[in-house]
Every structure is written in structure tokens, then in C-alpha cells.
Subunit: 495 residues, 2 copies
């Protein structure tokens, strides 16, 4: 034993067990840590050299070195040039301050840290979460997974990891989107909606919803007045409320949103022109022009939420508001959720370059960007034509389900049912006396999932005669029997 | 010609061209829309029947019916029971109000709609965007794509679309995460960091960054004081500033963050205990305990950003702050970005169930959730052991690059270089006189991408002697020649 080192601590206190799961260096490190914390090692004297300690314990020098390196990097010991390792005295002091026992026991009062959100007063959309386990799921917003283009999508995902695409799929894009996806959107997706856009006008989102959230945070400040459709999409209401907006409901009739007579004070209007959510009516061309004129004269921004324009079952889709002349103040929101799958979380928006730049700045510190791999795979799916084939196939499927559901409702319900040829749900305004809350609950007990229509109104109590039936997730064979059960309940309720 | 209908407009005004790309019904619809807008059709009289018009134009009745259906759904015409289709007079009125020509020409003044963000004063991290096209990319935050586990990841993606997983991969989860991924995190990922968590304590994010953003919005209100490491991670500073916080820089030395003597007024502290960003030092155990004690006595929340704890090249990783007793006030942030790929955008956080519930409520109206398909594939990758194999393989690769870079820096640079054994970059505090801004620019001109170290300080001007070299994206062969070029520039600058 060298005179330079104290008697090794190992002999008396450090014990190492062999044959356990815990590696030797780790046992040693923990034992040393314990000794240091307990004050058993003299901070004035160097620790034993690794050679010494290894010999004492019958372990390799490497084991001791690894334990020492860990202790050093965590500050338990410090290396002094030409003197060896010493217990770190600052560390000792801090260890001794320790935890005040009383404070520890106190449970955290989270209400001190959290605050109520400004949308707390709105009803929750009472979605049935396990809808897929019911025989008749007339839910909106979900899709029948059997129609998902599994093989083309997997092929696109695989291609996106080939050398030509690997970097773009995996990189940290910081605030950039996949340039190929943006290019494909401009060349092959937006033109189908009549929209001419260049890449500086396009932002990729995690679905139309993220577009709304980014817009709300860029454009709304406390006190801003935002026009929303009445009835209308609940998520949009919540998102604008959370950003501090005051909502002004704007009436919707059979030709879509009624352009407000006096738009003074409004800073932004959210609308669903292709298929109004939830009633599915299409905004008339005349009203589109009127809204654009109002936007220009009042410097008003229009958010065109085009969440399911692909699904029109007669004729071609109406051109987007964003496709009309003088639509600089229109922000267009699109999504891949409705025809591919909501679980992919991919959408896009089109707006003036100045606004896109600002939204990109916001997004960069929220999520950076959507998955590069998913973006590149989608770009490849569009480029190879599978995207359009999938849209067409899905449209044919949905047109059939739409017709089946409409026919069944017209045959079974005791009032005249109208259904505009589009969208993924049918809106059912019932006669006075119908109570959607009770009806939806009774239907659920018989395996039929339908959505309450009252929640889409500012004053739900006065609109309980409305129902909404989605047809994108239900199999075609289940439609007619499901409607029959519902109709039986309706007749019983109307008595 | 029936007496019931007026002379068909088709004869004089409607023209249909054959052999063009535009379908006939669409041409017809546009011609009719034009006639209606021009006031050429008498609103008091019904439009010609589809049979009539079809005969006049020599097209099928179906073509006419499709055009009529579109015009009806857009409000140009309305069907009156037993009388036929009529021009909609409300529509005519609205069309005539039209656009005021003067307003249209006005360009949009976006500065009226947008506002400056509260982080506008911070420096942008001047990342070189096309780093992959340089021969010596010592960038941090990116990965060498050749080390990505392509085949296991594609297998996991394929398995996630098999019947047993399809629903979970594609559904709209609203505010839910993939339960299998959460389970796998609790069982197989968090225990490696010493963390015991149940599913109610876990939230899946789009990367550690989204975790920070959600936390900032749940916990920070204007005037909140947030402690940040000095030097420290710029993105965290920006995110807290944007949420309205005032930042209080807290010194970092060789043992990590120095626990503040007087934490009064602080509501939250962000720190990177495993490998401090950007210097890579590890927070000492004693300071961890001290910070937990301060948190308990001052009801202070600690955000533990554990972005690359997997990458420790000697010994085992330090247990997380969240793994210590009395860590209820610690929020743990993890990510898959660093060892798999930043482009996948997937991470997670662990916190008290009350806080997770609130963050979930916030996330639901921002992005809903991360891609279900990506989540399920990651869950399968963890469950089948490939995740851990990949981490181990990547750690071995990175350990080699770390050693190569450290050795090269020690051999080439004219001062003593120390590098804690972990992370994906080496922090280089240079001697007085070194100017990282000029050096990084000069290096770039010779194909060497290094990061400026000044930007991580509150006062960058006073810290221009610091550099940061990442080693996760550069190939091992490029390390030594890259360091030689850099060292030449350093000697010239100091010389």
C-alpha cells in the first residue's frame, strides 16, 4: 500500500456481490456514493487509485475507472491535476442541506398552477369513444378502416425511406415542410378545388384543426370578434375562445351562411362553404361573392374550412371561396383526415405568403413540423396517382352509403328528409317534440350510435330536435337495420 | 314545345362544346350560372324540364339533371313542389350587390392583423439548413440517416396496419394517445431512466418541444418568472417568452445548474440534467436533491428536459430527477428524435395525473394527438425489442464518434479540451480572443459546419469564445479531417 493513499475504504465498507444482475461497476459506484453522502470519506485525502481499489475488491481496473468516471461527471468527486480524485466538498455541503422533511409530505395543489380555460362553458362533443364496438355506428369524423389504402400507403412509406428520399423523411426540418409535398399540393391537389397557389402560400399542418389553432393564435387577441356559423363546428368555437376571442354567431340557412348585414367589429369569420358542418348545405355562389366583398370593404379575414370537399356525390365540387377572384383575405384549410384516415394527422392550408410566414414562425416552437416521413409518403402517393385513385374509390363508396342512408331515412322516418348530396353525414332536423338527447341515449342502448344535434347551437336547449348521422364509418349492410331501430325509437318518442 | 315552359334558353344562348376536356354537365352548369347572374332567365317562370333541355341541346337527361342538382345545391335555383325549378330570387339580389370595385384593388395590410411575438428580441439559432451538402457537418440536433433502422421501422409500420392494430392506427383518438405505446413506455422505456409511471402520468407528444409548449401554455401566465439555464437551450427560452413569461437565467457550472439561493418568485425552472444543453455537463446528485427540496418548499415546478439521456458513453445513465423520491413537482420530457430521427416527431412526457389531464385538454384543440400509425409502430418496435437494440447500436456508434472527436480536438486544438462522456455534441469554450461568429463563417467556407456558442447566452456579445460541435450527423471518417481544418482556422485567428 502506497503512503500516498489512505487505507482503502473498500476493505471495511465497500461490498460487491457477484452473480447478481447489477453490474459490478454500478454496485461500486452506489457504494461509493453512499460513503460520500454519509461523510465516511475524508475530503482532504485523495481516494484510492483505481489500481489499488481494483486489487482490494478483486475487480478489474476498468470497473473502478467506470465507477469513478460516473461519480466525477455527477460531481461527487473531483479530479485535481497531479493529486488524484477527491470528494467534492461543495457536494458534501449540498447533500447535508438535504430535504426539509415537512415540505416533502405536502401534496401538490395543482389548482394553484393551472387556470380555467376560456372555453370551459361550451358543451363537450359527447363522442362515443368505443363506437367501433357497436353494431350500428353512425358516427361522424371517423372512417371505416377497411377502406384505407393499406398497400399503396405502405409502398409510399417504404419508398420514402429509399436513398433518394431518406434525408427529407428523417431530417429536422426546423420550420420547413417537405418541399415535395408542397409542390404536389400546388400541382395536383389544389387545382381540383380551383385554387392556384405557389409554395410560399402553403403550410402543412397536422389536420385542419391545427390550421385553425395557428390562425387563432396569429390573428386573434383578447377582445377580437370572430364570426362563427350557427349552428356550427364546435372545435372552431373552442379554439377561437381559447385564443381570447368573443364569438358572434352568424345564421346558416339552406344556402349556407347568411352574409352579415353589419360586419363592423368582426375581425375574422370561420365558415364551411363546401358542406356546412353540421348541416351539409353548400354556400351559394352569390353569397360567396357577397362575403368576399364584405371582406374587402371591412378588411375582414375569411377562414374557409374545406374539410371534406372531395365528397360530393352529384356533379363536380363547388369551386372553393379561395378559388374566386379577390380572395386574398381567404385562408383555405384542407385535410387528408376524411378520405384517408384521421389517425394520420395531416392537412394543409393556403393563405397569403405574409400570413403563412407568421404561421410557420408560430408552428416552429410548437411542433416544428408534421412528420417528415408521413409528408414524403403522402407526396409520393399524390405523385404516383394513388391519391386520386383513392379519393375516387372512396367517393364511390361514400356516394353509395349516402344514397342508402338517405333512402332508408326517407322510407322510415315520419317526416320529409332532405339530404344535400355531399359530406360524410346527414343532418336531421326533426319535428318539435323530438329530443335528441334522450333519443341518442336510447339508441345507444340498442347498439345504434347517433350524434346529438343540439350541441352545435349556441343555445343547445332550444335545438334538441336535431340529430346527425355519419355514414363514413358504418358498413353498408348495417345502414338499413340501424335506421329501422332508430325510426322505431323516434316513433315511440313522438308517440 | 310544351306551353308550360318558356322557349328554352338553350336555343339562343346556351352553347355546349363537344370534344373538350370539360364534361358536358359542367359546361351546361356554367352556362346556366352565367345566364342566371346576367338576369337572362325570368324568375317568375320555371326552367325547362330536364327532358326538354336535353332534347334541345342533344345531351342526355342525366347531364341536365346533374347540372340542375349542382345549381340547386348552390342556391342558384330552387325546386318548388309540383311546379318545377325556378331561379332563386334571393340569389339574384345578392348577385346584384356584387363587389365594390374600389375595395377590391386595395392590397391587404397584414401588419394590421399580425402582432410582434414576445420573443422577437432573441437571436435565431443560425442553423445551416443544407448541412448535408457540406463535407464536414458538425451539426447538433440532426442524425446520420444511414444509421436509421429502416427495415425494423418499416416492419413495425406494416404490422401496425394489420387487422389487430388497424383501428388504433387510423382512428381519430380525439384526446387519447395510443394505449399500447403508453403501456410500452411505462413498462420498457421509463424504467431504464429509473422512472415508475402509470399510464395516467404519460402524454405522447410530437417531440420534447411540444411538451415544452404545452407546459408553457398550461403553467405560465403573463408575469410568471421562469428559471432557465445560463447558458441554455434557446427553444425553451422562446417558448416560455411566447407564453408571456419573464426569464431568470440560472448559472450552470461543471456540476450543472447551480441551485438558486433565493428561488422566491420563480414558478417554474427548465433544466437539462442528464446532459446540459449546450455544455453536456451532468447535474450532480447533490444538486438534484437540493433542487427537489427547493421545489417542495417553494411550490416550484421543475421541467426535466431529458432529450438525449440514452447517450452516455461510460457507465450507466444517471437516474432521472423524476426517478428520485419526492419528485411530484418534476415534469419529465423525453423524445425519440435523437436516437431514431427528428423527422418522426415523436416524444413523451411524464407528470402528475392532474397536470397530464390539463395538457391533454390543451393538446386536443391544437393537434388532437400524434399520428396513430406512428405511435402504434413505435409501440411495436419497443415491444419486439428492436427499440432497445437500436438504442444500443446507436450508442456504440456515437460513443466511437464521441471518442474520435474528443481525441481529435485534444490533439489539434491549442488549449486543453474536456468532454463529458455523453450527448451528441462537444462544447468548446475557447480562450479569450476566439470569435465563434467569424470562425463559424470561415469554417463554413471550407466545408466545415460548426455551431456558434454565443447564442446560448443571455448576452451573446460577451461569450463569443464558445463553439459547439455535433457528432451525430457526421460520418466517422470526416471527423479528423474536419477538426484539422477547424484547428487551422483557430490557430490563424488566435495567432
Amino acid at each position: 500500500m502506497s503512503a500516498r493513499y489512505p487505507a482503502p475504504v473498500a476493505r471495511t465498507r465497500l461490498s460487491i456481490e457477484r452473480g447478481t444482475d447489477k453490474p459490478l461497476y454500478r454496485q461500486l459506484r452506489e457504494a461509493l456514493e453512499h460513503e460520500i453522502a454519509a461523510g465516511a470519506l475524508d475530503p482532504m485525502r485523495p481516494l484510492p487509485s483505481s489500481r489499488e481499489l481494483a486489487r482490494e475488491l478483486g475487480v478489474s481496473r476498468n470497473t473502478v475507472n467506470t465507477a469513478y468516471l460516473e461519480l466525477e461527471s455527477e460531481g461527487f468527486v473531483e479530479a485535481r491535476p497531479r493529486s488524484g480524485l477527491f470528494v467534492n466538498r461543495d457536494m458534501l455541503r449540498e447533500l447535508r442541506r438535504g430535504l426539509p422533511a415537512a415540505a416533502v409530505a405536502e401534496p401538490v395543489d395543482w389548482s394553484r398552477h393551472l387556470q380555467a380555460l376560456p372555453d370551459a362553458g361550451l358543451p363537450e362533443i359527447a363522442k362515443v369513444r368505443d363506437w367501433q364496438s357497436y353494431p350500428f355506428p353512425f358516427v361522424a369524423g371517423q372512417v371505416d378502416v377497411s377502406s384505407f389504402p393499406r398497400l399503396p400507403w405502405l409502398r409510399a412509406l417504404r419508398e420514402a425511406l429509399e436513398p433518394a428520399h431518406l434525408h427529407d423523411s428523417l431530417r429536422d426540418g426546423v420550420d420547413e415542410d417537405d418541399p415535395m409535398l408542397v409542390e404536389e399540393l400546388c400541382r395536383h391537389v389544389l387545382p381540383a378545388r380551383g385554387i392556384e397557389a405557389d409554395p410560399a402560400q402553403v403550410l402543412v399542418t397536422l389536420g385542419a384543426q391545427q390550421g385553425l389553432d395557428l390562425l387563432a393564435h396569429a390573428l386573434v387577441r383578447p377582445g377580437s370578434v370572430v364570426g362563427v356559423e350557427e349552428p356550427g363546428y364546435l372545435d372552431a368555437r373552442r379554439i377561437f375562445l381559447r385564443a381570447g376571442a368573443t364569438l358572434r354567431p352568424i345564421e346558416v340557412d339552406g344556402a349556407g351562411m347568411v352574409p352579415p348585414e353589419d360586419p363592423a367589429g368582426l375581425s375574422l369569420v370561420h365558415l364551411t362553404p363546401s358542406h356546412h358542418s353540421p348541416t351539409n348545405v353548400t354556400l351559394s355562389i352569390a353569397r360567396r361573392r357577397r362575403l368576399l366583398a364584405l371582406a374587402a370593404t371591412h378588411d375582414l379575414l375569411l377562414v374557409e374550412d374545406d374539410y371534406d370537399s372531395e365528397f360530393r356525390y352529384h356533379g363536380s365540387p363547388t369551386p372553393a371561396l379561395k378559388a374566386l377572384p379577390d380572395s386574398e383575405r381567404v385562408v383555405y384549410l384542407g385535410t387528408f383526415s376524411k378520405f384517408l384516415a384521421p389517425g394520420l394527422r395531416l392537412g394543409y392550408l393556403v393563405a397569403a405568403p405574409e400570413l403563412v410566414e407568421e404561421l410557420r414562425r408560430l408552428r416552429r416552437y410548437r411542433i416544428r413540423h408534421a412528420s417528415g416521413h408521413t409528408q414524403r409518403a403522402m407526396a409520393l402517393l399524390i405523385a404516383n396517382g394513388q391519391y386520386h385513385r383513392t379519393v375516387r374509390r372512396r367517393r364511390t363508396q361514400l356516394a353509395q352509403r349516402w344514397a342508402t342512408l338517405r333512402d332508408a331515412l326517407q322510407a322510415e322516418l315520419p317526416w320529409q328528409v332532405e339530404a344535400p348530396p355531399g359530406g360524410v353525414s346527414i343532418w336531421l332536423p326533426g319535428p318539435p317534440g323530438l329530443d335528441c338527447v334522450e333519443l341518442a341515449a336510447a339508441a345507444l342502448r340498442q347498439g345504434v350510435v347517433v350524434e346529438r344535434g343540439d350541441i352545435y347551437f349556441t343555445d343547445p336547449e332550444r335545438h334538441r330536435e336535431n340529430l346527425r348521422l355519419g355514414f363514413a364509418a358504418i358498413t353498408p349492410e348495417a345502414i338499413v337495420p340501424g335506421v329501422r331501430i332508430l325510426a322505431g325509437l323516434v316513433r315511440r318518442q313522438l308517440g
